[in-house]
């Protein structure tokens, strides 16, 4: 099968996000193929919550995600490297504060 035909026969790819417990945020756990969003939820339930990993599922078409270009990584992320003052590491933490 030529690649174009193969793509046509494949279900689209969805990215799966699972919330482990109430109050936590949804975390990316992987991806799967499904013909539509509802089927993607079913598949995600069967693939990623078999061992009680979650209480809520988000799915999104992989093609709907806009990703940063690795080629641009330098331009995007390097400038932050020498700006250590953006980390709140210059404060004295009182001893009474235990869980900061």
């Amino acid at each position: 099968m030529d690649p174009a035909m193969h793509d046509k026969c494949q279900w689209p790819l969805f990215e799966v996000f699972i919330r482990a417990r109430g109050g936590l945020d949804h975390k990316h756990v992987g991806s799967l193929h499904a013909s539509d969003a509802r089927m993607a939820i079913d598949h995600a339930r069967d693939l990623y919550t078999r061992r009680q990993e979650g209480v809520s599922i988000w799915v999104v078409r992989s093609t709907d995600i806009t990703a940063s270009d690795p080629e641009e990584a330098e331009a995007l992320f390097e400038p932050a490297r020498d700006k250590i003052y953006r980390h709140p590491t210059f404060y004295d933490i009182p001893d009474e504060v235990k869980t900061l």
């Binding site: 799967l32 193929h33 499904a34 013909s35 079913d42 339930r45």
Partner: protein, 257 residues
């Protein structure tokens, strides 16, 4: 124990087997899809449902063993009975066919189990009601899964539509048996242990009508039937299932996982 109480326990034993064997045989059948489903995701989906069914069978057959009071556990009841002692309806022992046929059978059975378990949660028998309470949640998902697929296939391409419509025609006559009330069903309903099958049928019928309409499928005409798996008279297919399922326990008696 009074004579009538003994009699109820004996009938209840058979009734619990009837409910449990449906789950057991269907679970075993669905398990055949493992490694053969159209895509990896469905492979896992079907296997999950099969495992739910085997889980239901374990609870029910273990309870049947207690009711029988002869010291048989779930494994002995599942793996060491003879064909005529299995009380599942014939529909669940039929070969899987293609994916569409498996989906059609699942819709028919999932809807039946859902209506049955929902009512069994109110059973006068506490243990049966507790087991049904757990099973009903699983079954709601099973029906969601299978009816979603039936709609996709029925309302899909000309070929998928034709395939599921013809599977529906083939399997439909076997559904009659599910609602055929015999003496055991009647006795259990009289004791408040089981629901009236006429009531289950009405609810099932409504649910199925809705799914079929959405799937643009036609409800087949009622035809006479001659299947009696529920009372232990099975098609030739059950023997093959049992041969595979029971092989290990028969070759290595008492083998444990």
């Amino acid at each position: 124990m009074s004579a009538s109480a003994t009699n109820v326990a004996r009938l209840l034993f058979r009734y619990v087997l009837r409910v449990g064997d449906l789950s057991l045989v269907l679970g075993q059948r669905l398990g055949e899809w493992v490694g053969h489903a159209p895509v990896l995701e469905e492979d896992l989906g079907l296997a999950n449902i099969a495992l739910d069914l085997i889980g239901q069978a374990r609870l029910l057959l273990a309870y049947a063993g207690e009711l029988e009071g002869r010291g048989r556990g779930e494994d002995e009841i599942a793996f060491l009975r003879e064909q005529g002692e299995y009380l599942n309806p014939t529909l669940v022992e039929l070969p899987n066919g293609d994916f569409g046929e498996t989906i059609v059978r699942q819709v028919l059975i999932d809807a039946f189990q859902l209506e049955l378990f929902e009512r069994l949660t109110n059973s006068a028998d506490e243990q049966l009601s507790a087991i049904a309470g757990k099973a009903v949640k699983e079954t709601r998902y099973h029906l969601r899964y299978s009816s979603d697929w039936l709609v996709r296939l029925g309302d899909g391409t000309a070929e998928s539509h034709a395939r599921v419509q013809s599977a529906l025609e083939r399997l439909w006559p076997y559904t009659v048996e599910l609602f055929e009330e015999d003496e055991l069903d009647r006795e259990m309903a009289d004791c408040g242990i089981a629901p009236r099958l006429a009531e289950v049928r009405a609810a099932w019928s409504k649910r199925i009508e809705e799914v079929l309409a959405e799937a643009t499928l036609e409800r087949p005409r009622e035809r006479p039937y001659a299947w009696f798996g529920k009372r232990g008279e099975h098609s030739e297919h059950l023997g093959y299932i049992l041969a595979e399922m029971q092989y290990l326990q028969r070759a290595y008696p008492g083998a444990r996982w």
